[in-house]
């Protein structure tokens, strides 16, 4: 029987002589399988949303639009377009509509200014030129 150390040396030599038995292409194929099917440790784990989490995610996605959309619509729509007010000038009540959001006081001041400077007769079709409001009726 040979010496133990000699045997160990031979064992080491044989181990070192073991070669991976496949071709480069086969190893590449093996590596492709590993790379494509094994998640990397540094990648964040793929979290499957729970039912509640899914609804929270949907709500979070919709909520900004739900808040912003009415604001956008209001901002772009003619403000107070349908509002009619009664304005009194020289004892006459005017019903007017202003598409630009003018207050009754402002329109009253505008009407007074026009009456004072142009002496025009205020009629149902009078247009307050400065603001684009129109008088609908005068009583």
């Amino acid at each position: 029987m040979r010496d133990f150390d000699q045997q160990l040396k031979e064992y080491g030599c044989r181990m070192n002589n073991i070669r991976y038995p496949h071709s480069d292409a086969e190893l590449d194929w093996e590596l492709h399988k590993v790379i494509w099917h094994t998640p990397l440790s540094k990648q964040p784990p793929i979290v499957q949303p729970s039912r509640l989490g899914k609804w929270v995610a949907i709500a979070a996605a919709i909520l900004p639009f739900a808040i912003l959309l009415p604001l956008i619509v209001l901002r772009n729509s003619p403000s107070n377009a349908s509002v009619t007010e009664l304005v009194e000038v020289d004892g006459i009540h005017f019903k007017y509509a202003c598409n630009n959001g003018c207050s009754p006081e402002m329109t009253t001041a505008m009407l007074n200014h026009i009456i004072a400077n142009t002496h025009e007769t205020i009629s149902d079709n009078f247009h307050a030129a400065a603001c684009g409001g129109s008088v609908l009726s005068a009583r």
Binding site: F4, R14, I18
Partner: protein, 158 residues
């Protein structure tokens, strides 16, 4: 192909023989072939590849990952009966010699990490490299190796 994948594939191509040696050096149960073990080691290496910071050489890092994976496989095997890995036609198996089989049986009887230490020593790894592979100090590697070899010599000569 992404550069990470290319780097990984290059790394494996450079060290495939060594990985295969580690896989071949363990006696596996019938449920595990050396190729299965090789695949497991590749997966472990790929998972750990991006966290490999180069503190040790790539050779010792790969050896360590391979050994740890093989130990995990051993644990998974549990009490399954073991058999010698069938040598591939194109590879030279360490189990070809009957005389060596006695030695291999003795090596297999060693507990970890002594088994890995003796195996790496037989393959020509330095104490420093074995220390990096096993995570032990160089002094501890020297001491364990010395004790293991003494024990093996004694058992071998009986």
């Amino acid at each position: 192909m992404e550069s990470t994948e290319r780097q990984f594939m290059d790394l494996i191509h450079r060290n495939r023989d060594m990985i295969w040696r580690v896989c071949s050096g363990f006696r596996l149960s019938e449920a595990w072939t050396t190729e299965d073990a090789f695949h497991e080691v590749l997966c472990a290496l790929w998972i750990g590849f991006q966290s490999f910071d180069g503190r040790s050489s790539e050779r010792t890092w790969i050896y360590r990952v391979a050994v740890n994976t093989m130990i995990s496989i051993y644990r998974k095997m549990g009490n399954q009966p073991t058999c010698r890995a069938e040598p591939d036609d194109k590879s030279v198996s360490p189990y070809e010699s009957i005389d060596l089989n006695d030695l291999i049986a003795l090596l297999d009887s060693l507990p970890e990490p002594d088994r890995t230490i003796v195996n790496a020593h037989a393959q020509g790894y330095s104490h420093a490299e074995i220390a990096q592979i096993t995570g032990l100090s160089v002094a501890a590697v020297g001491m364990r190796l010395s004790r293991a070899l003494r024990k093996l010599r004694k058992q071998y000569n009986q």
